[in-house]
Every structure is written in structure tokens, then in C-alpha cells.
Symmetry: C2
Subunit: 483 residues, 2 copies
């Protein structure tokens, strides 16, 4: 068993050796995706898509609980729509795929395949919103979007990806701003509470905000290679799109006013974050709250005892399923227990339950934690009570571990030299003072290879001088290399 | 109240006057959709999308229970893929939109926006399937697809629509064929059991089958104007796609064999069927099992009693929600009860619950059925027990009513004259004998304006002569005008 074990792990490149290679090894071995025959596109295989479905369920419930409803807008957007918001067209034009022919004819106006839906939704909102009575409008869309990326990486940056995009319209700036912040809280609750990924919450610098937004909030997570991944964004648009698309309402005072809009999104790149925050040299590790399967039961023992053990394991399976624990069983005869142990560790199932003839005699089962490798001998009578507690404990432990890693790799930089050292050698995030000038932000990028992640709401320290020019700092900013 | 009532109904064109106009009136008034700024595309507004979400939940559960898993394949399909299955390319080429430019450059190979995913899935299956151990593969995809239609109609025929497409691969023809039939049963169970729409089950004639299939099964529903709507299809592909895309497996006997594939789909056109089978001159009527809201509570009474009544209604609301009844309440002050009655009848909510001060004194509530208009006075103590039974009764009654309508409008045609009379004047389905020659099928189309719907598994009668040429009939076929 030990041999098969080691052999298996050898098939995954160690993180310390080559993190990018490790990532690709894991997602392919865990059967999450495959490359599609279209440049920069991937296929979400069942195990990968199931993880996205789990994310969808969690997010969708939260959207609905906070008064949002789902709708669906068209995939194609007429070229002229992009001209209506200047920054927006500049931001997205280079990445657009264009439909120029359809139904055997050349189209009069080119149609973009949506990179995001602000424009077409703005057009519809202008039709739907007439009076203050129509406000607020709070709609979310689950959809595929396309951005023709030059360099792609499975889940993290693909030409086509899946996401949700929320679009709301409000009577006042305050209400729109408050929606933007509420959604950032909702995302935080999901990413920290369900995915066990700690995030830095803050505001994007002007150069990093969404094309067309007044400002953008983001949650930023740290991967195990010290790089940042933007896990969710929430944009306050002010009246930019309302003016571009003429979204006006007749207010109580009988005057026409432009609405204030927001948009916000989480995409399938979040799958990359789950993998790169929790995964290790043995493969995936899934937090119990998001794991499609939380427990895998593996019956063990000599051939002659097999039927008895499997029947017993099946009864345990039923017992756990009845308690709404997401459980699966692998009783295949032609595969060794050792192979199965490795397989399900690699697939990241939080708990393995082993049961054999000797355990049955003792009236116990063996539980093995994916997060710590710890082995627990649990009396069968206590199983349905212990297991939910154990899953909760694993959930918290995975968050704590990820937070410790992130905190250990987050440092304050008082100079460009320190910043470079933190980002390049220590492989982490650097908090640094920034005067607010885009030139200094660019200088950090050129010298340290790091981009500004966000201006945190609660910086661990407030810095007084700009890390680049030495002038007075307007903000303390997280800088990091980023996916 | 009676006045507001009549006034409201006047806004919907009666079905008897102009069925098409009625349909558009209803879907717009019930706020299910709006026209998009792209030719032939619509926006699924929240109430329309919610109905699709309800369909998705019901279907998705059934797919998973029968061993299917969801995945996601790319939106774009390289042009060369379409050449690999001859019938398929001929069937879909005229309807394809083409992406010819992306990321600022002209593409070397044009990319079609998927009209269906057999080709790209065939390509992936060829990579994934190597051994008999890899079979069967049973995958479903929820996706948007595009077919550039010349004449469009909301939900029923739009250039972009939403659907699920199942794609399976099997070792034997028998297994694939049995999958195709099992899915048709699953669709029947959903459409008849949940949507309360009776269907004729059968096989498509060769000229009406899916482009590339060996044969296609369908379920056909009758709309209230006597026209047919294909509510779901299940295709047996034989080895056509396996050969086109080289999907081979090494069998137990150590020889390479092509797999047998199937595909099957239900799309958002099913929403059109729900509307056109159950709707009436008052608007939508939703079967309880699919209705996003099953009961609407409307508190009634003079202003001074308002608070007391609303508080009581809110308690009832909670009571019903606790029993998993999908309930909503409208306690808006500025709208009259009469307006609300019409509004929710128009939106098709199966049961209205009225409660006023006098009802409270009597310890009763008033229930009004959407399907029959019947008023029931129910003691409050019996409500949580009576209501689920009532919803069940409404569900069955709606199916029975639809079935009676369909049966009353289904007739046997022994001659082309009879067939034409049935389809044109009686506005219904005609069962007729058919020799199997495409020429005769075309003759029916030209003379009666009807297409063959399917060759039913259990025809109510077996006809011996072809309705067109008078030769011996090979099949009894349902003919009808169709959406
Ligand atoms: Zn500076
Ligand atoms: Zn004939």
C-alpha cells in the first residue's frame, strides 16, 4: 500500500518544484477540465462543473435572499452599443469576438459576443424603468461570456468562461453605493465562509477599476505561490451607463432623473482559487461546505469477508445520507484500498471512512482527515453525531491554515527595494504607501512586477509615504503579482 | 370590483379572436419576456426565467437520478467540425452565425456559434473514450444555442435559446437505443406529470428527424389553437458521429470498436407550450407543480381593520411556507383587491387566498381556484391539510382538461380531404395512414399545410391505406400544423 501511495503522488509535480506545473497536473488528474479545440477555451468536465454548480447554488441562494431575481439577456451585442460608454468600449474592444455573418448573409452591423452585459442590459433598463415606482431593479444573470485572451490558463483566464453578473439600478447614489458594498459583503461571506479562502477587501485603484465604473471594490485572495487572485468584484457605475443608455425615471417631484447603476460578478476563475489555496502535493483539498462529496466510504478486508463488510458499509452509507451528509462509497473489487486512498485524497474529499472486519468487531470506523492526514477511531454509535462536527472542524481548520499562510506572506514595504523583495523573493503581498499617482503605480509594476490589488478598507498599518516617489501617501495599497 | 375586472381582461385579445395576438398579449402582460435589440432574440425577464429555472430543477434532478452528470463545452465550434457528419452540416449550415474576427484579428478558421454540440462533444469523447471501461459516458449540458431563424416567435422560435442537451456514448446499439427510449420516458414524465401537458409519443419520419440521427423520437403536444409543438426529442445516432469523429474503444475482446451515441434536448420553447396549453382569456394558468408561486394571499377589508387583517394574513403566510407551499402575499395598500385578483389570475397563480375581517370572525379563509374559478370557504384549522390536496387536485384537473381538449381535437383521417378538414377547419391533429414515401408526406404538407408530427408508439387506430397515394400504409402518422 505504501508503495502504490508514493508512486501515485509522484505523478503530481510538487508545488515547491513548479507551482504552475503542479496546478495543471492536479486539475487534469482530478479530471476537472480538458482543453477544447478552440483557442483558449476549456471543457468543464463533470467533476469541475459540479464544483461550479456547488458555487452557483451557494451564491444564487444568497442573491435571492437579498432580493435579486435571475433573468437572461442576449449573447450578442450590436457594435453600436459599445460606443455609448467611452471607457467601456476602450476597455473591451480589443478582446471582442465578432459575428459578421449569419444565416448565409453578411450582417449589416457586426455583433459582439458579450464580454459582459452592461450595454445590452442598460438598453433594456431604459425601456423598463419609467417611474420611481420601477426602482430599484435588481437582476442577476448566469451566463457564458467571451474575452479573447492572448495568454490563457485553465479556469483562471480562458477565452470563454462562466459567471454570474448582477446589474442593479437605483434612484439614489447612496442606495447604489450601499448595494455595491452589500454585494462585496455577500461575496466575502461566500468566499471566506464557504470556500474557506480569506480575502483582503478594498477598493481598486482608478487604473485597475472596471471599464466604465466610477469605482470598483474587490476581494483579493492569496494563492499558495504568493500570487493574488481577484475572487469577486463589485462596481459602482454612478450615472455613467444611465447617461450612455438614457435610463431615466420620473421621480416623485415630477422631474426626469438618471438612475445610478451597479454591476458585480464572480466567475469560474474561483475554481482556480479553491485549487490553489487549499491544494497540496497530494492533490486537491476541498472545504466540506463546497465539496460535492464530503465523505468517501472504503470497505476493506480479505475477499472472503467482502460481502459482509460491503453490506455493513452500505448501511453506514445510508445512515449518513439520511443525515444529509454528502457521501459516496467505492466498493470496486479490482482496485486496492491503497489506490483508492490516494485517488480520493487527490480528488480532495474531506473525509475518508475506512471499515474492515476488525473495525466491525470493535464496533468502530476509521476516519481520515484530508486536511491534516489525522486518523480517528470512532465508535459507530457516535458516527452520525461526530461526523458533522468533524466536517465543521475541517472547514474552520482549512480557513485558519489559509489565513495563516496569507498573513505569514503579507508584509509591509517601506521602500521599493523591500516591496520587490517581498513580492519576488518572499513570494507574498506587500502593503505600501501610494501617493495616488498612476506613474508610481506603473513604477511598482515595472520594478517589482507587482500590480496594485486594492486599497484595503482596514489596512493592518497606515503608511505615510509613497513607496515610489516618497511623497505623502494618500493610501495604503496591497501590491502583488497576480493571476 | 367587477368593473375593474372586466376592464383588465379587455387588455388581452381573446383566444377565439386571434390566438397569436392573445399569446403575445399574455407573455407581455405577464412580464415573461421582452424583445432584445438583436434580430430574433428575446430577453427572459425574471418571471419568465423563473419558470425556466423551475423546469431546469425538475429535469436536472431526473437526469442525475438516472446517472447523468452535467458538464460544459465551448460555445464556438471550428468550421471543419461540421464537415465530419454530412447530414449534420446540411441540416445546420444555413442557420449558423459565424465569428470571423476576434481580438482585433481575422481568424484563420471561422468559428460557428453552436447550434447544438454533437460535433464538439464528439471530438472530446474521442479523446476521453479509450476502453470499454470508459463506457457508458452520460453527460448533460445546460447551455445557450443559436440558430439564425428567419421567422421568430417568443419562446417558440428564437435565434438564441436556452436548453439542455444530453449526449451519451455506449458500447452497444441496444444500450444506446434503450437510453434514447428511457429519456423519452423521462421527458414524458416531466411534461405530463409536472407541466400537465399530455403528449403523443412516437418516432419522427426520416424527413423530420435530427440532422445526423438514425432516428428521432419525439413527444408532441397540442396547443389550444390545435397546432402541434414538439416538446422534447431524443435521438439515436447509431455510429454516425462515432465514425465522423473517430470515437473508438478497445473492447474486452481486444478489438477497436466505434461507440453508439445518443442526444436529446428540451428547450425554452417548452415555456410556450405551458402558456398555450393552459392559458385562457384571463391570462396565464400555471400547473401547481411548476408554478414558482402556488398561492397568493390577498388581505381584504376597510382601512381601519387593515393592520389586524394583514398581521393575520402574515401568520397564515408563515404557516403555509413552513409546509413548503410556495406562497406569496400582496398587501400593498394603493391597489384594490379587484385589481389584485385580476393581476394574479393573469399571472396564472393556481390558488388565491382571500382573508378579511368577516372571514376572521368566522375562522375561515376563501380559496379561489385559477383553473375553475371555484370559490371554497375553508376553516382555518383545515387549511394546511386542505391546501396541498387542492393543489394536487388542480394539477390533475389541468392535465385532464388539456387531455380532453387534445383528444376532442384528434381525429382519424381516411382521405386527404378529411385530413385537410381536420387540420384547417377543426383545428386539430389528424391520424392518417402513410406508405412511407416522402412524396406523400410532402403532398400532405402542400395540400393541407400539415407536417408529420410522429409515428405514435400506440396509435389509437391502425390505418391500412396511405392518405395520399392510396397504397398500403406502412405507418399511422400524426399530422398537424406545427410551431
Ligand atoms: Zn508616488
Ligand atoms: Zn403514399
Amino acid at each position: 500500500m505504501a508503495k502504490g501511495n508514493d508512486q501515485y503522488v509522484q505523478n503530481i509535480t510538487p508545488q515547491s518544484e513548479d507551482f504552475s506545473r503542479w496546478y495543471i497536473d492536479v486539475i487534469q488528474k482530478a479530471d476537472l477540465m480538458d482543453y477544447a479545440p478552440v483557442r483558449g477555451c476549456i471543457v468543464f468536465k463533470p467533476d469541475g462543473y459540479e464544483l461550479w454548480e456547488a458555487c452557483q447554488r451557494e451564491l444564487d441562494r444568497r442573491f435571492k435572499e437579498t432580493g435579486h431575481r435571475n433573468a437572461y439577456f442576449p449573447l450578442f451585442i450590436p457594435e453600436s452599443f459599445f460606443e455609448k460608454e467611452k471607457e467601456h468600449v476602450e476597455g473591451f474592444n480589443p478582446e471582442l469576438p465578432w459575428v459578421t455573418e449569419a444565416g448565409g448573409e453578411k450582417l449589416e452591423e457586426r455583433l459582439a459576443v458579450r464580454p459582459t452585459s452592461e450595454t445590452v442590459i442598460g438598453h433594456m433598463y431604459a425601456r423598463w424603468i419609467q417611474s420611481y415606482r420601477d426602482l430599484p431593479v435588481k437582476i442577476n444573470q448566469w451566463a457564458n461570456v467571451v474575452r479573447w485572451e492572448k495568454r490563457t490558463l485553465p479556469f483562471l483566464r480562458t477565452s470563454e468562461f462562466l459567471w454570474q453578473e448582477g446589474h442593479t439600478a437605483h434612484a439614489t447614489a447612496e442606495e447604489a453605493e450601499s448595494e455595491t458594498r452589500m454585494i462585496l459583503d455577500l461575496y466575502t461571506d461566500f468566499v471566506e465562509g464557504v470556500l474557506a479562502i480569506p480575502v483582503y477587501r478594498g477598493q481598486k485603484t482608478p487604473s485597475e477599476k472596471f471599464a466604465g465604473a466610477v469605482h470598483t471594490y474587490s476581494i483579493e485572495a492569496m494563492m499558495k505561490d504568493g500570487k493574488a487572485l481577484q475572487a469577486g468584484t463589485s462596481h459602482y457605475m454612478g450615472q455613467n451607463f444611465a447617461k450612455g443608455f438614457d435610463i431615466q425615471y420620473l421621480d416623485r417631484d415630477n422631474t426626469l432623473k438618471h438612475v445610478f447603476t451597479t454591476s458585480w460578478g464572480v466567475s469560474t476563475r474561483i475554481l482556480g482559487a479553491i485549487i490553489m489555496v487549499h491544494g497540496d502535493d497530494r492533490g486537491l483539498a476541498l472545504p466540506p461546505l463546497i465539496a460535492p462529496k464530503q465523505v468517501v466510504i472504503i470497505p476493506i478486508g480479505p475477499k472472503k469477508e467482502r460481502d459482509r463488510v460491503v453490506a455493513h458499509a452500505a448501511a453506514l452509507h445510508q445512515q449518513l445520507a439520511d443525515r444529509n451528509i454528502r457521501v459516496t462509497m467505492d466498493d470496486r473489487e479490482d482496485l486496492s484500498p491503497g489506490w483508492k486512498f490516494n485517488e480520493y485524497e487527490m480528488r480532495g474529499i474531506p473525509v475518508r471512512l475506512e471499515i474492515g472486519p476488525r473495525d466491525m468487531e470493535k464496533g468502530q470506523v476509521v476516519l481520515v482527515r484530508r486536511d491534516t492526514g489525522e486518523k480517528l477511531f470512532v465508535p459507530e454509535g457516535e458516527l452520525t453525531e461526530r461526523l458533522p462536527r468533524l466536517l465543521e472542524e475541517i472547514q474552520h481548520n482549512m480557513f485558519d491554515k489559509a489565513k495563516k499562510f496569507r498573513d505569514d506572506h503579507s508584509h509591509v514595504a517601506h521602500s521599493m527595494e523591500e516591496l520587490t523583495h517581498i513580492v519576488r523573493d518572499q513570494k507574498g503581498f506587500a502593503l505600501a504607501g501610494w501617493c495616488g499617482d498612476e506613474v508610481c503605480e506603473k513604477a511598482v509594476k515595472e520594478q517589482a512586477g507587482a500590480t496594485s490589488r486594492n486599497i484595503p478598507f482596514d489596512p493592518p498599518e497606515t503608511l505615510s509615504t509613497c513607496v515610489s516617489c516618497g511623497k505623502s501617501a494618500a493610501h495604503s495599497v496591497w501590491f502583488a503579482k497576480a493571476y
